[in-house]
Symmetry: C2
Subunit: 155 residues, 2 copies
Amino acid sequence: MSPHKEHNPNCCCRRIRGHGRRMTPARHAVLDALSERGEHLTAEEVFRSAARRYPNLGLATVYRTLELLTELGMVSRFDTGDDKARYEFADPTGAKGHHHHLVCTSCRKIIDYKDFIKEETELLRSTEEGLSRKYGFKINSHVIQFYGVCRECGG
Amino acid sequence: MSPHKEHNPNCCCRRIRGHGRRMTPARHAVLDALSERGEHLTAEEVFRSAARRYPNLGLATVYRTLELLTELGMVSRFDTGDDKARYEFADPTGAKGHHHHLVCTSCRKIIDYKDFIKEETELLRSTEEGLSRKYGFKINSHVIQFYGVCRECGG
DNA sequence: ATATAATTGAGAACGATTCTCAATAACTAT
DNA sequence: ATAGTTATTGAGAATCGTTCTCAATTATAT
């Protein structure tokens, strides 16, 4: 009944409550949907999935919940060029791990790229550090996306 | 009268015509605006700037032109999380050079980051190559963005 | 100069997202 | 447990960036 537990056992609720917010069935349904359905989901997809469990759910609530989770750093939101925001759990240390995206500009397919090797990770880390120093920026997250044409589309 | 010349002398028009498209004052105005106003412009900003020179210009034409230029690879389009597409010349070899963006999630300021050193460039290149091989993806472009809080906003 | 097809401007239409508001329900202090 | 306070909700309207429609215009090849 709580498949999102696997993501951060009893952490989601706690983190939500910790900010003076309340835990509700609607939010639970959204968390479940995010957990079950995997990566790069649109709000609409989250809504359809979550509404199966909690039919009374409204689309606006899904948007509100996704916004809240994003603010709390539990979810990351990104664009892939098709004018729909995408959401997924932001769990760099979780089962899914930190990853980036390959976007096919032809069929819009998104492939998760998790093969960053040690040097790459290290480079990113030091780059972020350098940017931080040079521009006085406190960097919280980054987005790396590759655009191209996938095998099936003739890449 | 043709400030965008500096970007790729007599290249823009040629490239547009080369695809069976026509060179028009409206498109010229958009090219000029992109050239004058610099990086990460919204369609609205391009419109306002271009309309100063060519008052008859319509917003839809700006969108159409930006779409065309993007298709031709002359302009790159990207998002920074505020639900407005941004456009700028895509001239990795030009004066401005290839760069990435630092986005302040507080004041929405965008800082261009052009300090990729040789190793970084090399790493990106080999990463793209590896992705290409592994997934059969033909990679055409990539987006790297860092999100955080700028100095002025308390970074 | 002419013909042909691309391009245009204006406004309507679209779609993702946000807002409004009265009703509901989670949490807190009792 | 209970009641009170206040966040949250669902539904639909509203917003706003972007795209579409269409008749009029105009760049280009001949």
